[in-house]
Every structure is written in C-alpha cells, then in structure tokens.
C-alpha cells in the first residue's frame, strides 16, 4: 500500500479524482447560489450526461456522441502535453485545431477530396502553423505563448474567410459534409452500429486512442523522446550533450501541431458539427485540452480518461433544466469543473507533503 501511495502515477490519479470531486462540489454551490430548488437535479444531470435517457439504445447512442467529441479533445490534450514535456506551453492548440478544420473542410467541401486526403492535410496544416511558433521560438527567442495566442486569432479569421466559400447560402454554417461529399466522412467500419446506429461514431475514436499510445511510446521508449524530454528538462544540458535543441523545439511544435490539426479533422469529418463562419471566438477544444492534459497527470494514457471526463460533463451540462437556469449554465458548470482540473499539480504537491509528514522518512 505504501509503495502504491508513493507511486507517481497513483498519486496523479488520486489528485485528479479529488479535483473532479472538488469541481463538482463548487459547481453545485454555484447552482445552489443561483436557484437552490433545482440545484441537486441539475448537478445530477451534469454527472449523468447520457444516462439521462431512459432507453438503453438512446443511452448508448448519446454515449457515442460524447465519444465523438472526446476524440478531438484527446488530440488537443495530447498536443499540449507533448509540447509540455519538451518544455513548451502550446496554448496554440486551438489555432492548430482551427487550421486543421479549415484544411479538412475546405478540401472535403470545396475540392471533393476523400477523407484520408482531408485528414492528412489537416495534420499538415496544424503542423505548419505550429512550425511558425517553433521557428520563432528557436531562432528569434519569441515566447511561444505570445506567438501561439496571436496565431490563434489569425487562424480563426483566416478560417472563417476561407470556409465562407463552402458555406450554406442561407446560414453561416458550412455545408453538410455527409450530403455534399459523403466520401469525405470518416469511415465507421461498423463502429456506428455498436452505438445504436450513431452515424457520427467513426474510426476517429479508436484512432485517437491509438495515437495516445503512440505518443506515450514516442516519449518514453524512443531515442527521440529521450532527446526531446532532455531538451525540455534542461536546454543547456541538451546543448552540451550535442543535441540540436533548435531542431528539437521545431520538431516538437510540428508534432504537437499535427496532433491538434488532426483533432479538427476528427470532429468535423465525423459530420457531427458544422463550422460556423461567423464564429468570433477560438474553439474551446484547444483550451479544454490544457485541462484534460493536466487532469490526466500529463500522461498520454491518463489523457484518454480525462478527455472523456471533461467531455462527459460538458455534454452533461446540456441536460440542466433550462426553465430554472439560463442557457449559459451548462457551460458555466462544466467550466468550473474544468477549472478545478487545473489544480492537479498543486494537489499532487499537497498530497506529497502530507504523505511525507505522515510517513516521516520511512523507507519504501
């Protein structure tokens, strides 16, 4: 048991669970403050998410919907944690996600390309955008946070402009991919059938999990991962050891950008949503990805679960009784919970201190 307590992975797990519980409690308090009568029902709705539906088939179908949005979130979360391990804070995941979406949708709707072309170009678009940040960082020492934030906005408006060419004439939304170019929709390989014929469940979901494992292997097992993490931990030692730290920084951003870009394609090529070309805020996916990666203890495997959880409460927010609360409440509650997820690092520290005090210095 002691050994388990000292295990870093387990520590992260406990810290994450505590964060989740705290988040739910604070969310509940907020609901209580607004309207005490409906609070309990509302918070239960958030936790239940798809369990809200009485029929088993509907439950499974809506579970599928949550998974559909988990896949892109997981990609953003992987992107952020990968960069973070190398010492870079990729707050530009949103922008990379956006240009990925732009490339995927434009090629799907404007050029009638099949899904795999769209997917690959989304990766390339995300990678190229992130490469700008990487190059600026390594050659001009421009802080990656600043350049990422600026590029987020540039990508948003550029994407709006480009995708306006493929939008519906009567609405601000892009054309429905399934109607305009069905071969651009990601294949389902029968997965949809498992989720009560949910048409949006595609290979994006297993693919994102596979990529999480690939990233884990890359970081922990490969020589490249060794180099990248060394660069992240101590840039000077990496240089001293003859590693090309400039190349490593750019390469890291390129990989991170490709992951986020892929996230955009995963969401929009499932046909679940249409891009709104009048959108004036950067997609939240990239920012929720920050919470997901921290909640997941900065481990690719942990991110799979944390991304699901965050998507679960975000989707669950939709079931809060809108006659009692205003429509923003769902976002408010999920963001409170997500906010608390950022405290994992802090809680880990607290837990560690507590464990040290309790155990004194006894051997493992």
């Amino acid at each position: 048991m002691r050994k388990l307590l000292k295990n870093e992975g387990f520590e992260s797990f406990i810290a994450s669970i505590i964060c989740i519980i705290l988040g739910l409690i604070i969310g509940y308090v907020v609901l209580l403050a607004i309207k005490p009568a409906g609070a309990s029902k509302a918070i239960v709705a958030v936790i239940k998410n798809f369990m809200y539906y009485p029929s088993g088939a509907a439950k499974i179908k809506y579970f599928g919907n949550t998974l559909v949005k988990t896949a892109p979130l997981l990609m953003c979360s992987l992107s952020i944690l990968f960069a973070y391990k190398v010492g870079l804070f990729n707050i530009g995941a949103s922008g990379q996600f956006t240009v990925g979406t732009c490339a995927a949708l434009y090629l799907a709707l404007g050029a009638n390309m099949p899904w795999y072309v769209c997917l690959i170009s989304a990766m390339v678009a995300g990678a190229l955008l992130a490469a700008i940040t990487g190059i600026l960082k390594s050659y001009c020492n421009v802080n990656e946070v600043i350049s990422c934030i600026m590029l987020n906005w540039i990508s948003l408006y550029a994407t709006n402009m480009i995708l306006t060419k493929v939008k519906e004439s009567t609405s601000p939304y892009t054309l429905v991919v399934a109607n305009t170019n069905p071969k651009a929709i990601l294949p389902s390989l029968g997965l949809g059938k498992l989720f009560s014929n949910n048409p949006y469940v595609t290979i994006a979901i297993p693919l994102s999990i596979i990529l999480a494992i690939v990233i884990w292997v890359l970081l922990e097992k490969t020589t490249l991962g060794y180099e990248l993490r060394a660069t992240g931990n101590n840039k000077n030692a990496a240089k001293y050891a003859g590693m090309n730290e400039k190349r490593n920084i750019i390469l890291t951003m390129v990989i991170a950008g490709a992951l986020s870009g892929l996230g955009g394609a995963f969401l929009y090529l499932s046909g679940f949503e249409q891009w709104q070309c009048t959108q004036s805020s950067v997609p939240g996916m990239g920012f929720n990805g920050i919470a997901a990666s921290f909640l997941g203890g900065l481990s690719p495997i942990g991110s799979i679960f944390s991304s699901y959880f965050i998507q679960h409460v975000t989707a669950g927010g939709a079931y809060v009784d809108k006659t009692l609360y205003c429509s923003q409440i769902s976002d408010l509650i999920s963001s409170v919970i997500i906010y608390l997820c950022g405290f994992v690092g802090f809680l880990k520290l607290v837990l560690k201190k507590a464990a040290e005090k309790k155990e004194g210095g006894e051997t493992k």
Partner: protein, 507 residues
C-alpha cells in the same frame, strides 16, 4: 554557565527512501566555539543541518537549546531561536543594495515608512565590530562574492542570531577571501557567537576550528579537539581509510599534438571586450595541461569555445589535426572530446532524469544503446550499473535514482564517470573537484592521471592552487583573457604562480 552547550542535537535519526541519511547522530555545540562538521559528500551533513533548521523532521532524537528541549518545525522556529545560516548558494536579492538585503524581512518602519537610517547605523556598527567590510549602498550583483558572503553574515548578526551555521562557505571564495573569512569567524567566536562550520577542507578546519565532529555515510564517527589531531587523522576518520595527499605520477614524455589552439578569440557575454584574446597553446598526448587563473579571467569562455557551446570570434581550433573551429558539439564529442563542465547543474546533468539516463547523455544515440530508434533500456541499465560500480557513484536507489536527489559530489562523480568512460582522446575537465571532499578529490585526480598515463591528452581548468601545483605537467596562467605565462609545476612556487595570476608578472 549552567548549560555549556548552545545547541545539542541528540541521537538524531533521519531516513529517506532507500537511505539512512542520519543514523543516531549527536552533535554538541559549545558556546563561543567554532565547531566543524566534517564529512564526505553525502555523509549527511546537509541533512543534519536541515534538521536543525527545521526543514526536515527527524524520526528519532531531540534538539536542545541552552539545555532545554526545543521543537523546531520550520525555519521560522529556527530563526526565533537565534539560529542563522549562510547557505552555500547565497540567498540574496541581486538587484537590491547590501543594506536592503540585510534588513529584508525585519525592516523597521514608522507609519508604514521604512526607517533606513537606524538600520544603516546598526549595520555599520556591526560591520565595524566584527571587521566585516561592506558598502551598504552597493548593489549585490555588482559586488564580489566575498562581499556578498559578508552581507549574508551581517544578515544573521542583524537578526541577533547566536548560532551561526556556515555551509561550505569557502567553496566560492578566492584564497585571499578565504583568509579574510577565517579571521572573521575567529572574531565572531571571540565575541561569543557559536559557529557551526560545515566543510570538507581539512586545511581550513585545522586553521579555524576548535573541535571537529566527523560523519561518515550517515553515521557519527566521533568528535575530536583540533589541537591534538592531524590532517591525516581527520581524513582517516572521514573517509575510513588512509588518504594520499600527494598526487602520484611518473614522469612521461608527451607525444604528438592532440589539441591545437591558434590565436583564439572569444567574445564576452558580459562586457564589450573579448573574454579570450588571441590565445594559442596546445595539449599533447600523455600530458595534463592546466589553465590556472582567478575565476573570471576568460577560462569559462575559452572552454565554451573549445567544446562548441559558444562560437569562436576568431582563430582556429584543431583536434587530432582536423580544424574543428566550426564543428558541431556532437561531432566534436564523437571525434574524441570529452568535457566535464564547470556547472554540473546547468550543463552536466538533466536533473530530472534518472542516473542511468544521465550516464548515457553523451552516448544514447550510439548503436549500443539505441535499436531502430528505440532506447535499449536493458543495455543502458547494465552500462549504468557498471559505471556506478567502477566509479563508486553513491545514490539512494542506484540507476533509477533521480539525479536531482543525489549529493553534489556523487553527481560530479557520475559526470566524471560518463566523460572518462567515453575513452576520449582529449578530456577537458573544468574544476572537476569543486565542492568535493578529499576522498573524491583523490579519486578524480587519480582518474585524470590515469588518462594521461593511457596516452590521452588532458586539459584541466582549475582555481585551486593545490590542484594547480600537484596535478598537471604544465601550467598556463590566464589573466584577463590572455595566457600570461607557462610554468612548470616542478620548478615553480605558489608565490610565483600567484604573481602571474594577479597580473603582476608576465612572460
């Protein structure tokens, strides 16, 4: 004087995962004495002081002040009991003045306004009384390390601390500054302060301390009066065996040229002048060449240029006859250059990597450790275990120990092991024994000589006079970026060397 001891630490035991850092240690500090705490790196000195300072809670044992049991839970408790410490790495605000740093945290205010005049008077009085020369209005980053240290001492005195802990205070000082510090410490003790002096430099202990307590591998070995003991006795107590103070080496004729430096110039990062000016020298097979000089005379920049960390502004560097002036760090390393860096935390180690990962920092990409882009972890483990064994690198959990959690001396041993085991043609060792105890120093000196005897070239950069006089075959003295003299350690004297180092003499 009913309680002769200012501080007593009785039967202290403190354990960490995999290691007993302090095993039933007793330390009694008399009032007004200078008590040295002697031990190898990792012997448990720092842990013991951290316990006294409230940073760690011991599992067993108690602490008494003036005969009364006290409970020290955190550094604030320690401060309240009048315990002050000068850390090895100073804790000063670089952009504040000396006076501001001294009063920081205990400022006298009147209606929320600082009353610096009073503080200044007190500081000046203290500095007069104890012979601590400082300029209260100087900014910390502009003053010498010695003066920064005096500021730290004044900080303790300003707080009326009675028990002063000095954690390896001489590691960062020049020989002259060390002499001054010794005088200051004697002064403080004469005025009734009790001093704990943590060190592994025997000369200093013999000179300044009244009594010595020796720790070895976490255990208490004993306490002796300095009067009746010798350096040899102390080192035997500390290391557990006889230590050779003389570097053993046979005369040797150097072979062909390995490193050739011609008219090398390196720009300075700090000032507009060049840090290294038109320097030429060579290092041959089977010899140890030492660059001597006072810290900050261009040695660091010279080594940066040789190793490729910084570009050369002019001149030519050749290794084994090939021009490497613009060659990458990796290529220089593969060609046969090893580099024990000056700053082991900044360059030498990835502190959050395990010891085994640090052991392959220069070689991880070689086929021996990498297969198809994947790290060969069993091979790395085996290699690390061999180096740990061969070079006696001690750590809590062996190969998987985080480098950060190792003692400074063992971190250094790990770096030395890594660089020497690469079997380089040229070994550049920059202050390889800084902060190490006699046992480890002897070990590293022996390693350097062994390289020389294997017909390798060794370039040693050192600030320690003893090392400069005993290890190399040739001495090059650097002063203000130039090589001002080449000396033979067999025929020269420390005094002569000092004149060159101070820039008073040149060839």
């Amino acid at each position: 004087m009913d309680a002769p001891y200012a501080i007593e630490m009785l039967n202290i035991t403190k354990k960490f995962p995999g290691i007993i850092a302090n095993d039933n240690i007793t330390l009694q500090l008399r009032k007004g004495e200078i008590h040295a705490l002697l031990g190898e790196n990792g012997a448990g000195k720092s842990t013991l002081m951290s316990v006294l300072f409230g940073l760690y809670q011991p599992e067993e044992g108690q602490i008494k002040k003036d005969g009364k049991v006290v409970d020290i839970k955190n550094p604030n408790d320690a401060n309240a009991l009048g315990i002050g410490m000068v850390h090895q790495h100073f804790k000063l605000v670089e952009c504040f003045t000396v006076l501001d740093n001294i009063i920081l945290g205990v400022e006298t205010t009147k209606n929320g306004i600082l009353q610096k005049d009073e503080a200044r008077k007190k500081v000046l009085a203290l500095s007069e009384k104890y012979g601590l020369a400082v300029n209260p209005d100087a900014i910390i980053e502009d003053i010498t390390v010695g003066m920064q240290q005096r500021t730290e001492i004044l900080k303790m005195l300003y707080r009326d601390n009675e028990i002063l802990i000095f954690d390896e205070p001489t590691a960062v000082l020049t020989p002259q500054e060390i002499d001054e510090l010794m005088a200051i410490m004697k002064n403080l003790a004469a005025e009734g302060k009790s001093i704990l002096f943590i060190s592994h430099k025997l000369n200093e202990i013999m000179e300044v301390a009244d009594r010595v307590s020796v720790l070895r591998k976490g255990k208490y070995i004993g306490t002796v009066d300095v009067e009746g003991t010798t350096k040899e006795d102390l080192s035997r107590m500390m290391v557990g065996r006889d230590v050779d103070f003389v570097v053993q080496k046979q005369p040797r004729t150097p072979g062909e040229e390995i490193l050739k430096v011609e008219n090398l110039t390196v720009a300075s990062k700090i000032h507009k002048n060049n840090a290294v000016k038109n320097v030429s020298f060579n290092v041959r097979k089977g010899e140890i060449v030492c660059i001597a000089g006072i810290d900050g005379n261009g040695q660091t920049e010279l080594v940066y240029a040789l190793s490729g960390l910084e570009p050369a502004a002019g001149g030519k560097i050749s290794l084994l006859g090939k021009d490497i002036t613009n060659t990458s760090i990796r290529d220089r390393s593969v060609m046969g250059m090893s580099h024990i860096p000056e700053d082991r935390h900044k360059h030498g180690l990835v502190l959050d990597y395990s010891l085994e990962y640090n052991m392959v920092l220069q070689r991880y990409f070689e086929p021996e450790f990498t297969k198809n882009g994947f790290l060969d972890k069993p091979a790395i483990r085996k290699y690390a275990e061999r180096l740990i064994e061969e070079y006696d690198v001690r750590s809590g959990q062996g190969p998987i120990t985080r480098a950060r959690s190792m003692s400074g001396g063992n971190q250094q041993k790990a770096i030395v092991a890594r660089e020497i085991d690469k079997e380089p043609e040229l070994l550049i060792a920059v202050q390889p024994t800084r902060g190490l105890d006699v046992g480890a120093i002897e070990n590293i000196h022996r390693q350097l000589v062994a390289q020389r005897d294997k017909d390798k070239a060794v370039l040693l950069v050192s600030l320690e006079l003893e090392e400069v006089m005993s290890v190399p075959d040739r001495i090059l003295v650097m002063y203000e970026g130039e090589i001002v003299g080449e000396l033979d350690p067999k025929t020269t004297t420390v005094e002569e060397l000092g004149l060159y180092m101070a820039g008073a003499k040149r060839q």
